[in-house]
Symmetry: C2
Subunit: 376 residues, 2 copies
């Protein structure tokens, strides 16, 4: 990696307040080194000047790189193979100035950014989470991480923290995207959590070392959470919340938006229900999340339902009830099936014969079980 | 009304176990009087014989009509103007034998069936409802009834009962469709509730007086609940439930299916979440239900929401929550609003001032209520 490129992007990262669409455009046109030179000298057109004039004289890329190194962090730039190019490619086509790509990312931790983002899902939500929401976020975090998926979130208190902790609890991969420098612990109460994330995954920010968080930065940061993940799940959200901003960014990037329902009496679920009414996918567990973000077919194996929708068409009511009663895995005897389905035991036997004829169930040492049917 | 027609349909109503698609077809072809004569004499083809042979010699229409009258009930048949023809028209096109239209309906109560079904919504759900589900069902029942909508349900314990009670609580219209004779109180613990429904709305059944409930009849009955209503809301449902059957019938009839979300940790919400994932509309309050079932524009006039969408743009979160918490009708005090909205009482007061300034609420004897704003 060209040291000049690293220094140029470190400089630009401190000069421009994200998102900086005009500067990103200039960098794309003339490269980071030339762009940095022009910015430093003020030889830029009006849009770029608006994004860079205030801090263009703050020229301390080497000091920032040293500060990062001292904090165990480093700078990742688009010129490196570690850059998550695929995730950020969608920024180009999003057609929104808000969705300008980051100029560089400061990262802290042993993870490799591109690898972590290869299978990543964002789990975000309200700071004022209920214990229900925190529980569900932790379950999703561990469920996704357990299946090899990186959990991306914002390290905020509430849902974000619970999602990270869920992933860490199963020794899974998790990435925290901050609205301040990666050398800062914000929120302060999450200092230990951030250390744990930086100890196994990555803490990421587009703000240089020492950068302080601010309301604007939280919203701007959310586009990176959406951009690094293949899809975004909102666990709890009030009517107007940062999580909904992340969801809206994900939508603009063409990524699936998912929302977890909750009691309609809970103000913390209002935003989630609104999202579903507006077209987001309702999800209740990590399987459903993975199914939504996985390439088609990848997570379908083992799911009984899509198959049932076809092969059970036209079954009479007792047969359908008996088939419904059979669990996805495991065998049951006729007595159990009668109790579970509410179908009289004689009719259960008739139904089982019909189901066996269709290849939907099989007999096995006095018990019955669903046959695994290949989807397709 | 031709007495012969009434007697013929009363006879057929006892002879055939619903649904009886072949018999319904015969009645449509030759009329009820001729159809009854042929059935009584056994001069019918195989499909009709299958539906009528067991009980065709049970010939007691006059006695059944007398028994109904003694119980304060009467028989409503398609030849009468009271028949809800519009609601049942969809049965013809549903293309399902399960969805055969009823041959006649026994009804008890002062309501007129066709008028009650002109604006009707089914609110159904699990017997093993949680207190959350029962609360939401009652709120929906009262909210819908308050807006002039008839609440149709199955009088079961749990969600059904709560929905009926919600409607009765605001002196609204409600219709209970039973899986037994309208002269029976089933479930027994709902004897009083059924009396209240029969005292103002209607208790309805396709089973003749004395008919006993059975598991099969509950499922078959559900198609009538779906058919009498413009749309069906499922409040709580397990993975396999009668409420889902009602929803599936509504779908086959081309009527909107709605589901109320709940905690993903609740087994009683699993069926609702499944319905939403399969395409049902997520609803959280009666406004949203009315919007889904109303002819376009009809419910927009008195609806606070489209207006809120404009006048409340830019409200901060506490003000929006407080405004949302205020019911469409009725005044509430600040303490109530704080509890309902989850906003601290001091912030509620600040929010109310902001809302009053915008003309969204008004003060009235120590309480606050929504101002009626003309849509336009």
């Amino acid at each position: 990696m060209n040291e000049q490129v690293l220094l140029a992007r470190a400089y630009l990262s401190r000069v421009a307040e994200p998102p900086a669409p005009a500067l990103a455009e200039l960098v794309a046109q003339v490269g980071p080194v030339e762009a940095a030179a022009r910015v430093a000298e003020g030889r830029v057109d009006e849009p770029v000047a608006r994004e860079t004039s205030v801090r263009r004289e703050v020229h301390r890329p080497a000091a920032d790189l040293d500060a990062a190194a001292a904090a165990g962090a480093r700078l990742v730039v688009p010129e490196q193979p570690e850059w998550p190019a695929e995730g950020f490619a969608a920024f180009d086509g999003a057609g929104s100035e808000q969705l300008a790509p980051p100029l560089a990312l400061w990262v802290r931790g042993p993870g490799r950014l591109d690898e972590l983002c290869e299978h990543a899902v964002a789990v975000v939500g309200a700071r004022a989470a209920t214990s229900y929401g925190a529980h569900v976020a932790a379950e999703l975090g561990s469920g996704l991480a357990d299946r090899g998926c990186t959990v991306v979130s914002g390290a905020a208190i509430g849902i974000d923290g619970a999602a990270h902790r869920g992933a860490l609890g199963v020794e899974g991969a998790t990435v925290a995207v901050l609205a301040c420098g990666v050398d800062r612990a914000y929120p302060a109460s999450h200092e230990l959590l951030l250390e744990r994330i930086a100890g196994s995954g990555l803490v990421v920010s587009e703000y240089p070392p020492g950068g302080v968080p601010g309301r604007h930065r939280f919203l701007v940061r959310n586009r990176l959470i959406a951009g690094l993940a293949a899809g975004t799940v909102v666990v709890e959200a009030g009517l107007r919340s940062g999580a909904q901003r992340t969801a809206s960014d994900a939508l603009s990037l063409g990524r699936p938006v998912m929302a977890v329902p909750g009691p309609v009496t809970s103000a913390m679920s209002v935003g989630c229900h609104r999202l579903v009414r507006d077209g987001a996918l309702l999800v209740t567990r990590s399987d459903e999340v993975l199914e939504a973000v996985a390439p088609i077919g990848e997570h379908l194996a083992g799911r009984p339902d899509p198959v049932r929708g076809r092969l059970t068409d036209g079954l009479d009511a007792p047969a359908a009830l008996v088939h419904d009663a059979l669990p996805a895995r495991g065998a049951r005897d006729t007595r159990w099936l009668a109790l579970e389905s509410g179908v009289p035991i004689g009719a259960v036997r008739v139904a089982l014969v019909a189901l066996e004829r269709r290849g939907l169930v099989e007999h096995c040492e006095g018990r019955w079980r669903r046959r695994v049917v290949e989807a397709g």
